[in-house]
């Protein structure tokens, strides 16, 4: 949402790496998890791989020593750098859901899917190179990866935002990497905004997955697009569930009143995001958000919920 550029240590084992991307500002943060072995979570965009490598080296880790790169799902902002990144991380295995893996091997669909949402802007995010099959460790949920020194990452199946979505949980520091399976929330924009992608938002799926996550004992929730959540983790996850229902009900009510897409989108930008976040209008929102997220996020949310409502009969 609004993430400051730079590298930040979250706890003893976890570093957040928010490096300049596409438009020059971080859009997806990667997280480095250090045990005896090192893992990277979320690879972001092909074009920003050099920046990411520099950040990794900056915390004293040789990219060549990275053992695993986890991706929560196959969308452009999470997985498109993997092919390029592996060239500098020869040891690394990509850990991804089996459906994600298929797309990673033949990534044309990743670009096509992103093109549906971003249009031509998709080109800014850099090339998507395929990941060789033997570099992928396919998971389906429940797998554990031991990094040594008590540090370990577990895979939790969280379909919803995307059917191939997984979350990753670090058990020693009780840190959750939920991918896009949670809402966006930051101190600058303190509203819970569901993260939808092109097509109908799988409201039930996301809530079910969130329900699974609430059972975890958590210290930190490290999100890809808004950094570390500045709320109590359990409270945050519960609020996400409530918020998703609320967004659906509000958009449904607008549709029932005869409002159409552009009007609902306007309400979403002006009222449901700007005003509720404490800004008098979208023009007052922080510049980064206004420039990079405002043209895309509200559209995806409104489209996701409208399709969810209108596709049902």
């Amino acid at each position: 949402m609004v993430m400051e550029e730079g590298v930040k240590q979250i706890n003893e084992q976890v570093y957040m790496m928010a490096v300049p991307q596409a438009y020059g500002h971080p859009i997806t943060a990667s997280y480095l998890v250090k045990g005896e072995k090192t893992a990277l979570i979320e690879a972001a965009f092909g074009a920003s791989v050099p920046n990411l490598l520099k950040a990794i080296e900056g915390v004293g880790v040789e990219p060549a020593d990275i053992e695993y790169v986890f991706t929560t799902h196959s969308h452009l902002s999470h997985a498109s750098a993997l092919g390029a990144l592996l060239k500098s991380c020869p040891r690394a295995k990509v850990v991804a859901h089996s459906a994600t893996s298929k797309l990673l091997m033949k990534p044309a669909k990743i670009m096509k899917g992103a093109g549906n949402v971003l249009g031509d802007a998709v080109k800014l995010f850099g090339p998507v190179e395929p990941v060789p099959k033997d570099k992928i460790s396919m998971v389906s949920g429940g797998e554990a990866f031991d990094l040594g020194n008590g540090v370990g990452l577990e895979i939790i199946r969280t379909p919803g935002h995307a059917p191939d979505h997984v979350a990753i949980y670090e058990k020693l520091t009780r840190t959750l990497f939920p991918g896009d399976g949670v809402c966006m929330y930051s101190s600058e924009i303190p509203v819970l905004i569901p993260i939808c992608w092109w097509g109908a938002y799988d409201v039930e799926g996301v809530k079910k997955s969130l329900g699974r996550l609430t059972k975890l004992n958590l210290n930190h929730v490290c999100t890809p697009h808004a950094g570390v959540v500045p709320l109590d983790p359990k409270e945050f996850l519960n609020k996400c569930m409530e918020s998703i229902d609320k967004w659906r009900d509000e958009i449904n009510a607008m549709l029932e009143r005869g409002q159409t897409y552009s009007g609902i989108l306007r309400t979403c930008e002006e009222e449901m995001i700007a005003r509720r976040a404490g800004y008098s209008s979208p023009d007052e929102l922080p510049e980064y958000f206004r420039k990079y997220w405002l043209p895309i996020l509200p559209k995806l949310v409104v489209q996701g919920f409208m399709a969810h409502i209108l596709w049902k009969f």
Binding site: A108, N116, G119, W198, T260, Q303, M306, L310, W311, F313
Partner: protein, 891 residues
């Protein structure tokens, strides 16, 4: 006696649920299933063809066990010397061939799939092919573009362009609400099955008027109010002249649906000097002109007070041309699309059309006026609690009318008439039935998402520099030559499948060699009868190294097979299949959606196999059972499974469909109900309500603030220009004529001249074909019942010819005549008839069999012998019209 529910799916109207009466283990009768009456648009009635299912089951000429060819030579005079083998031997042999493919890699050296599968008419094989979709996923890339008749037997231009314009695979009149229908050729009375005919009958009782425009009196003309005998392949000129009448002879401000044009189409978009929309320099959104504020604004600007449709304005902006090239314009003169349409249609007068169509200009004027009057602009109707526009006039197109050259113009002009009157996708007007290139099939609302420029999102194959040609590559060159079909849903099957045959015969210049597939599987189709240029298709078929025919009697394509697998017929196989909603190809307008079971009604009398068991045995032998079961788990057979199949267990067909029955009912009921196979065996079907308003796109277009990409084809123009660049970069020029078919506003011409020039002098008559109610969709030609019945239809096998034409040639009724085209001769029996234009002869579709039991005895000629696969006759999306220029003389 037992009554067992199952379904008929022998034509594109189905599936239609029915009951089979079984006595002492013998199927003795077919009955309508009265339980389905409340859900079925034809009140559960069946068409006569369904009654032949019994005869199909007990056909004495059935293939009774797997066969292998022992004579390697192939030809009409070569006896294949079939040898009966066991199922294990047959499946081992096929698995060995498929496993060789997998070892070599699914793609040949040119990047095309080594395995090709061809299936038949109107999507009907889907209701019989069992778990084939899961096999496809498990096996990986295969080629579905080796055509069995698509592009010539279907409504090809309508399929492709209507999916772009209004997400419809078939566009039909909203028969339950319309008052006036113009049918350019569709023989609906012979081919729309029980439900469609019921809808037509109800409309006639309601007093609707139908004008049928076609060269001969078909079964549909017989139930129409007027017949206009038009010259073949000139329908576009008729429709263009109708547009001219509306825009230039009537007061369009008064008779058109102005609000619809302004808000639901691109009529107000400004067009720049290069023919692309003039766009806002910053946002790149198309501009319109607001005549109240006297300034150009972005099309969805909230401050727009009105949209200019006419005039010329000086504006600043950018055009985005091919390969995203931007051109800036300062104070350039631009016009709205509608102004360009007015100018574009000025020359297409009824007098101009009359010369081409051989129809009086006044008749065209009268039709245009009636169309507009019946459109009832301004009227509304309440459907499912929503007030929608009611426009009670529609235009329907036939097969040959919208296949091949001129088809694009016909489809465009028909749709333009619909937007002028606001009758597109609203009650009473022209509406789409399902979407097949933009899934899901049952509900077109779900295929709509907002795309750029205020239109619905399109899914063309890429043509921009660096992205063309995009893999995968198929024999029909779907991703290389026909980008408009996209790659979703039925795209492969509906691509230019004619091109596969043309290219396999002779690879064109500067093109990667097109080789036959290593293995070709043919199912419920007979390309050696149904494809044009049968000689070429036969010669190409002979070159195929290994052909597998899955079928129930011997037929012409099977004659060339290496392995024959007899599957269970319709009354023996097991499958759950979706029906209702918008899944049916034609205008049935179901108000329910659900699934029905096809089940064995008796113990199969012969050594045949269930399709699902065939695929399961194959994937097991290939070692890809886990991928196959995984695909079934994910929902490839109709619904995702809750109780998942274990990856490496081989399940029986019954076990698989039991899981699918449960999955499907859970999805339909929103998780509240689950019905197993036993329940379906007893009850036959499971439905939920399908809201009527979902038959129309209008409500969802309004909710998404979307416009139809009409009348101006900016997107198509860009694709065409990019494709031209790509092909010319590779020095490919044999597709240049087709590249002309990407205009923003299509020009009309006398398309009949293309055939006249191709066939040349000496061919003075048109040969056209017509469907017969008995044999429509061809699934029944080997059926003894229909053969018997056809003998009772007077002059059934005749070549229809006008008495005057016959007399000039010394032909009498019942003579054997020779019909010749470019040196190819066929024989038929003349049937003199006033109800055919004197410049036409009419063939029944489609016969000319040499091998198929019963059909071979009918001695009816096949128009496909007189049609040719030649790029000169192939349109931009790969279609060819089933029409020929011929000479006729007595034998």
């Amino acid at each position: 006696m037992k009554k067992i529910p199952t379904y008929c799916f022998m034509c594109a109207n189905g599936p239609d649920p029915l009951n089979v009466v079984v006595e002492d283990g013998v199927a003795v009768g077919i009955e309508p299933n009265s339980d389905v009456a409340p859900y079925h648009p034809g009140e559960g009635k069946l068409c006569p063809k369904a009654y032949g299912l019994i005869h199909k089951l007990y056909n004495p000429f059935r293939i009774k066990s797997p066969l292998v060819r022992t004579n390697p030579r192939k030809g009409w005079d070569e006896d294949p010397k079939w040898k009966e083998i066991s199922w294990d031997e047959a499946l081992d042999l096929l698995a060995e061939k498929l496993s060789e493919i997998r070892k070599k890699g699914n793609l040949d050296q040119q990047g095309r799939p080594r395995l090709a599968v061809t299936t038949g008419s109107g999507g009907t094989p889907e209701g019989h092919w069992g778990s084939f979709p899961a096999f496809i996923v498990a096996f990986g890339l295969l080629d579905l573009t080796v055509g069995g008749g698509q592009g010539i037997k279907c409504y090809h231009c309508e399929h492709v362009y209507s999916e772009i314009w209004h997400r419809s695979f078939i566009a039909a009149p909203d028969t339950p609400n319309t008052k006036f229908v113009m049918g350019f050729g569709p023989n609906v009375a012979a081919s729309r099955g029980a439900a469609g005919n019921r809808r037509h009958a109800e409309a006639r009782v309601r007093g609707y008027k139908r004008i049928q425009i076609e060269p001969h009196i078909s079964a549909t003309v017989a139930v129409s109010d007027e017949w206009i005998p038009i010259k073949p392949k000139t329908d576009a000129a008729f429709l263009y002249a109708m547009i001219h009448v509306v825009l230039h002879e009537m007061d369009w401000h008064g008779v058109c649906d102005i609000d619809f044009l302004k808000k639901m189409t691109n009529s107000p978009y400004l067009v720049g000097p290069n023919g692309y929309f003039l766009r806002d320099s910053e946002t790149k959104a198309p501009l319109i002109y607001d005549p109240v504020d006297n300034q150009a604004k972005v099309f969805n600007d909230r401050t727009i007070k009105d949209f200019a449709l006419e005039g010329e304005f000086e504006c600043t902006g950018v055009e985005i041309g091919p390969d995203n090239e931007e051109q800036r314009h300062e104070d350039v003169k631009v016009k709205p699309v509608f102004q360009l349409l007015l100018e574009h249609t000025k020359k297409y007068t009824p007098e101009w059309a009359s010369e081409i169509c051989d129809v009086p200009a006044e008749t065209i004027r009268k039709c245009a006026r009636e169309f507009v009057e019946n459109s009832t602009v301004g009227a509304t109707i309440e459907i499912d609690g929503e007030i929608l526009p009611l426009r009670q006039a529609a235009i329907e197109l036939g097969k040959t009318v919208n296949n091949g050259w001129g088809g694009f113009q016909v489809c465009w002009a028909r749709t333009i008439l619909a937007i002028l009157t606001g009758s597109l996708e609203v009650p009473g007007g022209t509406v789409g039935i399902g979407a097949r290139l933009n899934p899901p099939a049952h509900d077109k609302w779900q295929s709509i998402m907002p795309g750029p420029d205020g239109f619905m999102l399109q899914h063309y194959n890429p043509t921009e520099k660096g992205r063309w040609p995009s893999p995968p590559h198929f024999r029909s060159a779907l991703t290389e030559l026909t980008p408009l079909t996209g790659m979703r849903g039925w795209a492969q099957a509906i691509s230019g499948t004619t091109l596969s045959w043309i290219f396999m015969d002779k690879t064109p210049e500067n093109w990667p060699e097109v080789k036959p597939p290593d293995v070709w599987i043919v199912y419920r189709t007979n390309p050696l009868i149904s494809f044009p240029d049968r000689e070429l298709v036969t010669e190409v078929t002979k070159k195929f190294p290994f052909i597998v025919s899955i079928g129930y009697t011997m037929d012409e394509t099977t004659w060339f097979a290496d392995l024959v697998l007899p599957d269970h017929t319709d009354l023996e196989g097991l499958q759950l299949f979706r029906l209702g909603g918008l899944t049916h190809t034609f205008e049935a307008f179901w108000e329910h959606y659900g699934f029905a079971l096809k089940q064995p009604v008796v113990k199969p009398p012969y050594n045949t196999k269930d399709m699902t068991d065939i695929w399961t045995e194959l994937v097991d032998r290939l070692g890809i059972l886990d991928r196959y079961n995984g695909a079934i788990n994910r929902g490839l057979l109709g619904a995702p499974l809750k109780d998942r199949l274990e990856p490496d267990r081989k399940y029986t067909s019954e076990e698989i469909w039991d899981h699918v029955c449960k999955g499907a009912t859970r999805v339909l009921s929103g998780g509240s109900e689950e019905r197993d196979l036993e329940w379906f065996k007893e009850h036959g079907f499971y439905f939920v309500k399908f809201p009527k308003k979902r038959h129309y796109l209008h409500p969802i277009m309004v909710k998404w603030d979307l416009r139809y990409e009409l009348p101006y084809q900016e997107g198509i123009k860009r694709v065409g220009e990019e494709l031209e660049r790509r092909l010319h970069e590779k020095n490919i020029h044999w597709w240049d004529k087709q590249l002309e078919e990407y205009p923003a506003l299509p020009e009309c011409e006398d398309f009949s001249k293309i055939w006249e020039e191709f066939y040349g002098p000496g061919h003075d008559l048109w040969a056209i074909s017509t469907k017969s109610a008995l044999y429509a969709h061809g699934a029944n030609v080997a059926n003894p019942l229909y053969s018997e019945l056809s003998k009772r239809v007077p002059n059934f096998p005749g070549v229809k010819i006008h008495p005057k034409t016959a007399e000039e040639r010394g032909i009498k009724d019942g003579n054997v005549v020779i019909v010749e085209a470019k040196g190819v001769k066929v024989e038929g029996v003349s049937m003199l008839c006033e109800g055919v234009r004197p410049d036409c002869v009419v063939f029944a579709a489609q016969f000319g069999h040499r091998v198929t039991p019963f059909a071979k005895d009918l001695k009816i000629p096949n128009i496909n012998d007189l049609t040719f696969l030649d790029l000169k006759l192939v349109d931009a999306i790969g279609g060819v019209a089933e029409i020929a220029r011929v000479s006729v003389k007595p034998r």
